[in-house]
Amino acid sequence: MAQDPTGVTIFSYQVGFGDCFLLRFHYDGGDRHLLIDFGTTGIPEHEENDLMVRVAADIETKCGGMLAGVVATHRHADHISGFATKADKSGSGDIIARIDIGTVVQPWTEAPDAEKDSLGPEISSDVRSLAKRQASLQAMHDTAARVVEMLDTKALKHAPKEIKERLGFIGRDNVKNLSAVENLMRIGGSHVYAYHGSDAGLETALPGVTTRVLGPPTLRQTETIRKQRSRDPDEYWHFALKGLNADKKFSEAGEEIRLFPDHPAHPGGKLPMEVRWIAKRLTEGRSQQFLGLVSALDKQMNNTSLILLFEVGGKKLLFPGDAQIENWRFALSKPEIVALLADVDVYKVGHHGSLNATPRSMWAKFAKKGGKDSGDRLTTLLSTMPGKHGHAEDHTEVPRQSLLNDLKALSDLHSTHEMEPGKLYQEVTIAFA
C-alpha cells in the first residue's frame, strides 16, 4: 500500500473564463493525479482555438495516461466543456477519454435514474430529489437554449446591447453540453454522485487524502435550515420553458403567424408617438425579464456545485467549484465545519471571484490570511477572465474588485488572468510536513 503523499503540485490551466485544475499528489511510489473540472466559455484573445486540445494533451502527458479521479463540480460549460468529444475524435474530450481514469465524482443531481438506489436513503427515499430535479435541470438547459436562440429574433432585436451580451454569455454557459455530459458518464472505472456528508470515493485511489464533501446539500438537508419551504421549486422551469417556446414562435414569425390575423397592425419600427415610450419600456423590460430568468437558472446550476475539502499531510485544500451562498449555507450552519475551515491552506476561489461565492463569514474566519511577510500564508487559486461576466456599476463584475484586492493583500494569489500570454498553466507546490 502506498504511503501518504509528501506534497501536492497544483496546475492551474489557462482556460480563460473557466476552471481546470490538475492536482499532482507526490507519493514515494510515484505521483497520482486528480483532475478538477475542465471547461471554458471564453478563451483569452491571444489564444488559438485549439487551446482546450492542447490543455487536454498536456494533462494526458502530465498524468502519464492515468488519473486517479476526475471531479466535475457541476455541469456548466465553463467547468465541463473540455470533456466534449468530436465525431472525428479530435476533441479535447477524446483525449481525456483515452486516459485511464479511476473514479468520476459529480454532484448527486447528475446521477442517472438507474443509480438512484445506490445513493443511500437520503436521496433514494425522496423521489422528488432526483427525478424532478433532473427534469428540472433539463428544462433549465432548454430554457437557456431558447433564450440564446431568441437573441436574433424580433423580441430581442431592440434590447440594450449590454443586456444582450449578458444574455448570450450566461445563456450559453447554461445550454446543455450533451457531448461533455455523455463523455463524463462513459469515462472512469466508477462513478460517485456526492452530497454533503457523503463519501467521495477517492480514498483508495489517493491514500492518505481525506476528501470531505461539504456540498451540495440534498433537498432534505436544505429544508432543515430553511424557515420557509417552496412547494414545487422544480415545476417552475417547465412553466418558464413553455412560455419561452411560445414567445420564440411569435418573435420569429413573419406574416404567416399572427395572433390576430384579420386585424390590422403596425409592424414595430417607428411607432406612433403616443405609444413609443411604453413600447420601448416593454421591449427593454422584456430583455431584463429574460436576464432575470437566465440569472436565476445560472445560480441554481451553480448551487448544484460540489464543495470538496481535501485534508492531506496536515494541510487543507478547499475546492468549492461555483457554489454560491445558498449551497454553502447548509455546511456553514454546522459549527464543526466552520471550525474545520478556519485553517484552510489552499482556497480555490469560488465562481471565478464573483461576489456571492466566497461567503464573507467564512473568509473572515480564514486564520491563515495575512500580509506578505506572514508565515504559513494562505494560498489562493483563481481561474477567471475579466470583462465576461457582470458589471462594475452594479458590483456584479467577475472577478469582483474588492475581493481581488483582499486576495492580493491577504493571500498568496495565483490567478490565471494575470498569467503571461502564451503560458498554458501555472503551478503551485505545497510540501507536507
Binding site: K154, A155, K157, H158, R226, K227, Q228, R229, S230, R231, D232, P233, E235, Y236, W237, H238, F239, A240, K242, G243, L244, A246, D247, K249, F250, S251, A253, R258, L259, F260, D262, H263, P264, A265, H266, P267, G268, L271, P272, E274, V275, I278, A279, R281, L282, T283, G285, R286, Q288, Q289, G292, L293, A296, K299, Q300, I325, E326, R360, S361
Partner: protein
C-alpha cells in the same frame, strides 16, 4: 334636455372564455358593467387608463379601438350583443369577439376602470396611481408568456398570452380576476407605497392576498357569475315570467363552499391552468385558499412562511367570512316550500360581496404605512366598518373577527379596543397636549408641508422621535356616506420614519441582539410610521402606529430578511411582481 350621463355600460366577459351559462354548450357569460363615462381617445385612452395594444414578442402594434361619436350605438358599446332574434348567432358573435383584439382592449379597460371606480367609491375620493402620473398604461397582449404583472416603473399593467394545452390561445387580459388582481396591485401601491418593500412575511403576503380578495369579491358582485355557478340548467338565469327556484340544501354553508366558491375558483383557474402542469398558477392558489379549513396554526407552519402561500391564509379567512355572512342572509329569506328564489340568493351574495369589498378597501385608510401585518388589517377592517356603521346589527364585524381568529389571525396586542376589536381612538395626552393653534386647518386637508408642521410641532405629544427623519408621505381627505344618509368626513395622513443604522446598534436602538447571520457592519434600514386620522373638526381621531421601537416587530422583520437574503436593497417593482413565480423556483 340633453344631460350628460355619468356612467356608460360596456360589455365584458364576466369571468373568462371558459365560463359559460349552464355547462359547456351554453352561451359565454358576458356581463355589461358600468364604468365612469368619459370622452375616450383611441386605445381606448381615458382620464386614468391608456390601453396600448403593443406586442413585444411579435413587435406589432394592433390597430386601436376607436369610439366614434357616430358609431351605430350612441352609448358607445361597440360589442353589445343585440338581444332580439340573435340567439342563433350567439356562437358566431362570441367567436368574433374573442378573435378581436379591440374587444380584449375594451375588456381590460372596463375592468380596470370598474376596479378603480370601486376603490374611489369606497374611499370617497380620487385614488392616485403611485407613479405620480394620471394614466396607467395597460397592455393587453404584451408578450407571449403565461404571466401578467404590474410594473410601477413602467407605469403599466402587462398581460401576456400563451398557448394552452388544447392548443387554443389563452389571453390573461380576458380573465376578470387577473385584470382585477393586477389593477389592485397598482391601486394598493398608490395608497400604501411602502407595502412593496422588504419587510415581514405578512407584508409580502398582503399584496397578493389583498389583490386576490378584491378580485374574488369583484366577481361575486356580478350576479351573472354567481348565477352561472348556481345554475344547473342550460338556460341563462332570469328568464322572463319564471321564479327560478333552488333547493335549500344546495345553498347551505357547505354547499356554497363546495359548489360556488370552489366551483368558481376551479373555473377561474381552468382557463389559466389549462391542464395539470402549471400547479403554481393562480387558479390553483385560489382553489387552495377557498378549500382551507380553519386552523389557528397555519401562520406558524413552515409551508406558510413563503409569501404567496401565506397570503392564502388571509384570502381563506376573508372568503370564509363572506360565506358565513351570505349563508346567514339566505336563511333570512322567505322560502317556497323547501326552495329559495335563486335570484334572491344570488342578489344576497352580491350584496354581501359588495359590502365586504367596500370594507376591505376602506380598511386601507386605517392601515399603518409600514411593516403591514394581518392582525393590523383585521383591526383596520373593523375600524373602517365601525366608523360608518357604529351598531354591528348584521353581525359583519363579529363574523369577521371570529373567522379571522379561527385562521390564527389575531388582533394586534397593542393599540386595539378589547371588546370592539377596532383601533383605540386617540386619547390626547395631558402633558404635553396637542397643539392645534399653530397650523391652518384648511391647508391641513391637502398640504403635506402644513401637516408636517403639525406633526413636528406635536412630535412629543404623539411620541415620534425627532432624531429619525420624519416624512409625511400622504394627506388624503375622504367623504363617505353611511347607511343613515349622513356623511363621515376624514383626513387621513400617513408619515414614515426611516432609521439608518448598523446591525451592531440593534441592542442599543431596538433592544435586541442582532440576528444570527448578520455582520456588525451590516447597514440596515428600519421603518416606523403611522396614520393620523383627523375628524371633520380637524381633531385627531386615530393615531395608528407601527413604532420604530416595537422590538418584536423589528426583530421578526430582520430575521425574515436574513432568511430571505433580502437585507440588501430590494429589487425594483418590475422585478418584484414579474418574479412572482421565480421566487418559488429558488427553493
Amino acid at each position: 334636455m340633453n344631460r350628460l350621463s355619468n356612467t356608460r355600460k360596456l360589455t365584458i366577459l364576466a369571468q373568462d372564455p371558459a365560463v359559460r351559462f349552464g355547462g359547456p354548450e351554453g352561451p359565454l357569460a358576458f356581463a355589461r358593467v358600468e364604468v365612469p363615462a368619459e370622452e375616450l381617445g383611441p386605445g381606448p385612452t381615458g382620464y386614468r387608463v391608456k390601453v396600448v395594444d403593443f406586442d413585444a414578442s411579435s413587435q406589432l402594434l394592433y390597430k386601436d379601438l376607436i369610439y366614434t361619436s357616430d358609431a351605430p350605438r350612441p352609448k358607445g358599446d361597440p360589442f353589445e350583443f343585440a338581444q332580439e332574434g340573435a340567439a342563433l348567432e350567439h356562437r358566431a358573435f362570441e367567436d368574433r369577439l374573442l378573435a378581436n383584439p379591440n374587444f380584449h382592449a375594451q375588456n381590460v379597460y372596463a375592468i380596470v376602470m370598474r376596479t378603480l371606480a370601486r376603490f374611489e367609491f369606497a374611499l370617497g375620493r380620487r385614488v392616485a396611481w403611485s407613479h405620480g402620473g394620471h394614466q396607467l398604461n395597460v397592455v393587453p397582449h404584451a408578450f407571449a408568456e403565461a404571466n401578467a404583472f404590474y410594473s410601477e416603473q413602467d407605469h403599466a399593467l402587462f398581460f401576456g398570452y400563451f398557448p394552452g394545452r388544447s392548443g387554443k390561445m389563452v389571453f390573461t387580459c380576458l380573465s376578470h380576476d387577473v385584470v382585477a388582481h393586477e389593477t389592485t396591485h397598482a391601486l394598493l401601491d398608490g395608497l400604501r407605497t411602502r407595502f412593496t418593500e422588504a419587510s415581514t412575511p405578512d407584508q409580502a403576503a398582503f399584496h397578493e392576498a389583498f389583490a386576490d380578495i378584491v378580485a374574488l369579491l369583484s366577481i361575486f358582485s356580478l350576479p351573472e357569475i354567481v348565477g352561472a355557478a348556481l345554475s344547473d340548467s342550460a338556460e341563462p338565469p332570469n328568464r322572463d315570467g319564471e321564479v327560478p327556484l333552488i333547493d335549500a340544501e344546495r345553498v347551505g354553508l357547505k354547499a356554497l363552499r363546495g359548489s360556488v366558491l370552489t366551483g368558481l375558483a376551479k373555473e377561474v383557474g381552468s382557463e389559466l391552468l389549462d391542464g395539470d402542469e402549471v400547479h403554481e398558477a393562480r387558479g390553483a392558489a385560489l382553489r387552495r385558499s377557498v378549500e382551507m379549513e380553519p386552523n389557528k396554526d397555519y401562520l406558524s407552519m413552515p409551508d406558510y412562511q413563503e409569501e404567496h402561500h401565506r397570503g392564502e391564509v388571509l384570502v381563506a379567512a376573508f372568503m370564509s367570512a363572506f360565506l358565513t355572512l351570505w349563508d346567514k342572509r339566505i336563511r333570512d329569506l322567505g322560502t317556497f316550500g323547501s326552495k329559495y328564489n335563486r335570484d334572491m340568493v344570488v342578489e344576497e351574495g352580491a350584496k354581501v360581496a359588495d359590502h365586504l369589498l367596500t370594507m376591505a378597501i376602506r380598511a386601507l385608510d386605517y392601515c399603518p404605512p409600514t411593516d403591514m401585518d394581518f392582525g393590523a388589517y383585521l383591526a383596520s377592517l373593523l375600524t373602517a366598518d365601525a366608523e360608518l356603521i357604529p351598531e354591528d346589527r348584521k353581525g359583519y364585524r363579529r363574523v369577521m373577527r371570529e373567522t379571522f381568529e379561527s385562521y390564527g389571525i389575531d388582533l394586534p396586542a397593542i393599540g386595539c379596543h378589547v371588546e370592539e376589536g377596532t383601533w383605540c381612538p386617540f386619547v390626547e395626552p395631558a402633558d404635553p397636549p396637542i397643539t392645534y393653534a399653530r397650523t391652518n386647518f384648511a391647508s391641513m386637508l391637502t398640504d403635506r408641508d402644513e401637516v408636517f408642521r403639525f406633526v413636528w410641532e406635536n412630535r412629543n405629544a404623539l411620541g415620534i422621535s425627532e432624531r429619525v427623519p420624519i416624512e409625511v408621505d400622504s394627506v388624503r381627505s375622504s367623504t363617505r356616506q353611511g347607511p343613515d344618509g349622513f356623511f363621515v368626513k376624514e383626513t387621513v395622513v400617513t408619515y414614515v420614519q426611516t432609521l439608518d443604522m448598523f446591525a451592531a446598534e440593534c441592542k442599543v436602538l431596538l433592544g435586541f441582539e442582532r440576528p444570527d447571520g448578520m455582520s456588525t457592519k451590516q447597514r440596515l434600514e428600519v421603518f416606523g410610521g403611522g396614520v393620523i386620522v383627523f375628524d371633520q373638526y380637524g381633531r385627531i381621531k386615530y393615531h395608528i402606529v407601527h413604532s420604530l421601537t416595537d422590538k418584536d416587530r423589528q426583530l421578526r422583520r430582520l430575521e425574515y430578511l436574513v432568511d430571505m437574503g433580502e437585507i440588501a436593497p430590494h429589487r425594483g417593482l418590475r422585478d418584484r411582481f414579474s418574479a412572482l413565480h421565480m421566487a418559488r423556483a429558488e427553493g
